[in-house]
Subunit: 334 residues, 6 copies
């Protein structure tokens, strides 16, 4: 029987399903009787839940971050859905399918991965192609790279997000580089592949999305350079030649400068055509992804404007009441 | 007989050619004998020139900005070329081919223009297609738009630069928009066409590149909105329908927000997916053009680095002595 | 019988009056019985209200932004006034006097308007005087201009605020321009008249103060330039002469630069004496209005300081306990 | 016989006059014969001068900053005036009228001073009036205050500039304060009087305009507070009462906050209506003075634009070729 | 019997103790019965408290900021401690030991003061030593200086904090100045002593920590200069000589520039070696104090990171689960 | 015979010495006779030189950056020293003592190195001590580290500068860390040792100070992390244990955050007490070094102020005419 996801729950239905707990609180009502309040989550969203007549003993049987088997009923309350629980029991995390609980790319990972491999196999430069091969032969790396989100909240914050972000950027580069003779396509493609690989170490994404301690203290940019250095040491085994020093320096520069300015955490600004192109495509894809997601998530809200977004520092315009670009309305004094 | 350009002059050759005068100065030598010093220019560069034994009467026969017939000799002096003049006479500007004196796009204008028309004719939305048609039917506009540079110094600073910049951006949009379903391609293409049309009024480019008074006091962004408003009034004649109000607002927003932030002179930040895409492509093309031109102009300089560029706030790396990405050199202590 | 305003309500009085609803919420009490909570507003302020024993059917009969006839009782609760409703019914907005619900200038609009007309009639330059006449003959414009607030929240946020702000600035210019020979008074006066006219299209103010979609996407600065362009086309009918091109450019520059810097949304910085004076007077009047309003609204609070104001980034000093500038108190260690 | 000022010198006239020397240099011509080059200055400007056939012995008889009696001839050279000297001799600075050498206000100092006294005598508050009296009774202060420039270069950089700046601001306040009931006029007038008094100690202006060491290390804002503190100690002798503590604090705050923001060197931002008004009038007068002076000094230059001004970060528009606001020219593609 | 501090209260104990009240509110429960809610504070922290069945008459018997005798019971509720009161009565503030209610330095004040005196007595320069003596002979000053906190919230926010901060900086200077020959140690030591003396007038610290009105309007930097000026007038009585003018200017500069930049409220940037050293040591000590306090206060929280700190704009890393620098854990994909 | 340094040359002395050539130019005099102009440099400064009657053949025998044997005469000319050459011949760079041509630390390198070793040997933590040992055993590293300057121009720009900067910071840390219990001294000392090691690869310093290509594209911060990573791999051979992962992360964080903010090129801000201390000591030492050098280099200039320094954005005060802190002069109007 298929899983009942949070976004599918409707008024009045019975419930017996596993969710992830967050924000648990022990409260008492006006008559002094305790109850437990929490949020239940899966990859489709979160819903408030209450277990009445339950005190500290039950409260201690589970923690935020645990998976719990929930029995009860979902109901409409004050215009939103909530769950009233009858019973709640912690379950072994290994019995759970993580992909049910973490947001995932809407695209198929194997297909994205094939596009990635295609781009890397088409590299002309033998050193760069061998470097890519060293990464692709590293199974733990490939597993991490194809699973990792590209961010915790801001953009591509879902499993497979890093892969999706990277592949789309490569596809764009394929089409855009020809307009800029003077920029080396192999370098751009390799730079896009490498630019965010450090996120596989900066982020934790096995249970919920967050930063590793190491990630917070070092950051994905220096981590990416380190991962590149590790792999560069293996290339000569494939090619039988030393990896060219200047090429190595250019690759590191692509990673180090991809945020574009010091203010955004890049220790170097782009100083080659390829570095500027990697940075420009990254900016474009990141911002477009944030904006389109913002608009999409707010699509059921009848207002013409999304709520204020603090990262972007603005609200976005979704358009007139009919979702129609070409309606004639609005009005001024005349 | 073909013209002798500034960049072709060699040591010891006789000269009888027209140049543009700038920086003229009346000086006296140690013996009190006056001479005239100036720069002679055409679209390929500038060269210092002197007319000895000439005083104020001659000095007054021409002005900076005049075209002059020059007779004399070119010679090597202190490591650079200069011209020693025997005679100099002002000529009627109408006898001159402006394209000899102003830098020009290296691409063929008629071909670029065909690409522009192609993009505009492929617009699906009838209102936008009609709007584009109104611009294309306006001969003075087309003449200005296909002649105007995109900037005075920073990027695409040559005749046809605005057209070239616009067409390349449209080509890129053609390839990039499909990655962002949720962004309307017709709006993006039209926005790119319109984003810098105000430059045809902001800049003067008949003789040398500069700003019109009006351009400095108003700027190409509000000027572009005005030009759009003028044309929008003509569209209903073609379509038989009122131009949709919301569509008009969106088009104006695309022009007003294309610099991306207040700091760069946009009175509005991008608030629609299309506005963000127009801005992102503009940033990418502008920066790539600046960087590649910088590298190209410095290609004969043996240094691995271009001179410091104040607009970019950096030097650019051109690469190792062989222009070869894959040489093995450089060195640290080990 | 005169209206009972929010700020007049006292403990224990019966109530039968129309208010504007905002922030309505459906809640349940501990016994599971639903009640409705909302805010009731008119131009003098807002008061919380509750309708007990009322559920979703009633909740759906009205919306935020509706006018409702309210029966019930006002009472003191936790140190503040609230309303307990017995009944509540939506009323036709046309039966309502908008001026009861939107804040209004404390000054008489007709008198302010006479001062405005006086300033414009005293213009010496015939083109500018004719331009002003074109605006004054446009009834919908005059109605909007004399009704519109100057802002949604920050300053002059009341009906007539734009007119009041404009007229006070003109009065000040009248007195200040003579100190700056070299600044043209006619240009300054016309610039002040025009600087915020775009707000009549940027803001919506028929029911509650907000931004129109068009206002958010375009902004009052480009909108003001457009309104000016429209009217400039009518001037030659009055004067029989073309409107001087340079004068037109200077007027547009006054509007475009009046925020003073790019950061504050002006696409151009002031480049003429008149533009700098328009900007300086606008800054002075705007800030003084914010500060004096802040102090006035907090006058009943016994603290020597107003609450922190986020727009100003500071608290304001209202003065010693007696409201007396000249008391002797305060104290340090000595 | 009246003095021959630098700006009056014409081609071919004989010269026997005192000037201030700056930028002296010892040079040799191509034949190895030394000559001395320098600039001669008075309050109307500077002119280059040469003394041929003069070597180190003469070079040592005078220094930059000395006054010298100059005999020779003025002549036109390379489009500018210069002086060829026959003889040059240092003179006793006491024989010189300083006002011939330092720029001066174009307004009459005694009249400005009367306007200042008028404003101060009209103060209603007895403590403030007595405080003003203490300053006016202090002859060295009055001498300094009526002589001091308001700046070294940026604005009002001439003898009497501080007085002129202060009095104009007071005149403006007289006319503007009535529009802001809630701001105390006595405080504003006194604040304007005090705001820059520290400049009398920050600047040196006996020979050339500069900063005192103390001025650079402390600045006119803290210096002004100190001068106020000194004078406050004398007030009770006049009034027979302690000076009110709160009033003292408010006055210091007016001085400390008059630059408006930390960035411009104010340790406090304006937190009272009077402080905001003092700051706003100061900004307006300072900027208007800079702009109008810039335009005026460039009035003989035929360009429509002043040269780039680094303090303002812009060029200023002076207007069309006829200095006429209402000419019809300019031109775009149509 | 010793006092029962907030941080000592445990579940289920009876209470009869004095606390400081803040945040008092009158509320009603669902049955309409009023109760009073407030926070009780002493120097060790704050705890929520409720007095049930008490209405407006009781509510009016005390105010925020009053000391109250509290009878009742402490209990664990929802994971935190709270107090349920039976009775509450305002007490005379003179019966209270202020040091029970304000946070205090953990170091012994008399010992810190001895270290301060030691530093000042070791000054070599007789003028500076005499200046220091004038401060030390001023009992009210010494009392204030040894009691005052160094800040309201950010760092050293406890009684004695200013003294502790000053003495530690002097100790550091003692050890650091020798590395910078060219910096005068006497000036550095005196500068450190003086840099924050203005805080004794800027802050109020008799009951709760805050700013005096005067402190907010003037600030501790100008106040410190004033206090220095007052004392400088007394020095000649001790030394029999005028205080050297340049030395005075240098001392004032040390105070005025110690925040390092305009942005942080210094009207002057450091322009002498001593000023730069005073500023650098102040920055180091202030930041180290904030960071170490943040880490210490969060030591019982099992997370490896402190909560986000808005002043620092970051979270701080406390380290691995064992508080052990040298554990081996963490994990990435490999 | 000892070398004749540039700063020792006096009027009229004969010269036969090796210098480094920069800025060579071929010129002609008024009679058309060519001469060569250049600058001669050694570690004490630069002096202009001319070789008369020498044309292109000689001009081509040497380049900027070459060492040349110079015969001729030094003479005073226009108030400065210059050299008139009789003969000039390129010499083999290996015959030259580089230390004669590059500025050097005034301290003895072996003594500084001993202090460095002392600090590292006193580390308590065995892993850190072993790590330091791995660096000290690496001869090429030690040679580079003890030779490298700490900067190209701004501070410690001389051979041995990096060592001197590092050792002084360690000495300071030794004295300062005890004031901050909660900061681990071993980590601070190791962090200071490591913070700038990347400069040995970022800078080139064999002939003149500059950046390597690699240094410009990557920067010393990521380069330092790489060098650390390389050495960390060797530690287990010494200790027989894995290097603790958390300790490794903390060390990298110390390097990555030592510039304190993103704006200054750190990809991470300090998030541990040790990182804040490393950053604070680095800021202090860097700024103090710049200021004291600036004052020292200008010590012979009679002005009380150094010239404007663009990096610091200020002039520095050196003090009164007698170099005496305690003179009584200066003067204001009183």
């Amino acid at each position: 029987m298929s899983r009942r996801f949070v976004e599918q729950l409707r008024d009045g239905e019975s419930l017996d399903e596993i969710y992830l707990v967050t924000d648990k609180q022990l409260r008492v009502n006006r008559n002094g009787i305790p109850f437990i309040q929490m949020e239940l989550r899966d990859r489709t969203g979160a819903i408030p839940a209450r277990l009445f007549n339950a005190g500290e003993p039950v409260f201690r049987t589970f923690d935020n971050g645990d998976y719990v088997q929930c029995e009860g009923k979902s109901q409409l309350f004050q215009g939103g859905m909530q769950v009233v629980l009858d019973r709640l029991e912690k379950v072994d995390p290994h019995k759970v399918l993580p992909s049910d609980f973490l947001a995932q790319s809407e695209q198929e990972i194997p297909k994205l991965y094939e596009r990635l491999r295609g781009h890397l196999h088409r590299l002309q430069n033998p050193h760069l192609r061998a470097l890519a091969e060293c990464f692709l032969m590293d199974d733990p790396f490939v597993r991490a790279f194809t699973t990792c989100p590209a961010g915790v909240k801001l953009h591509h914050a879902y499993l497979g997000g890093l892969l999706e972000h990277t592949v789309v950027m490569m596809d764009i580069a394929d089409r855009v580089v020809p307009f800029y003779p003077g920029a080396d396509k192999d370098l751009v493609i390799t730079g896009l592949f490498l630019h965010d690989i450090g996120k596989t170490r900066e982020l934790s994404f096995s249970k919920a999305f967050g930063y590793t301690d190491e990630g917070q203290l070092i950051g994905h940019i220096p981590m990416g350079v380190e991962m590149l250095t590790e792999k560069l040491a293996q290339v000569p085994e494939l090619t039988g030649e030393a990896f060219p020093r200047e090429l190595m320096v250019r690759l590191k520069h692509l990673i180090l400068s991809h945020h574009g300015t010091h203010e955004f955490g890049s220790p170097k600004v782009p100083m080659t055509p390829e570095a500027m192109l990697v940075h420009s495509i990254d900016m474009m894809d990141t911002r477009m992804h944030m904006i389109l997601r913002e608009v999409k998530e707010d699509r059921h809200n009848p207002s013409a404007w999304t709520p204020y977004n603090h990262t972007l520092g603005r609200r976005l315009y979704k358009g007139g009441p009919n979702g129609d670009l070409y309606s004639s309305d609005g009005g001024t004094y005349d």
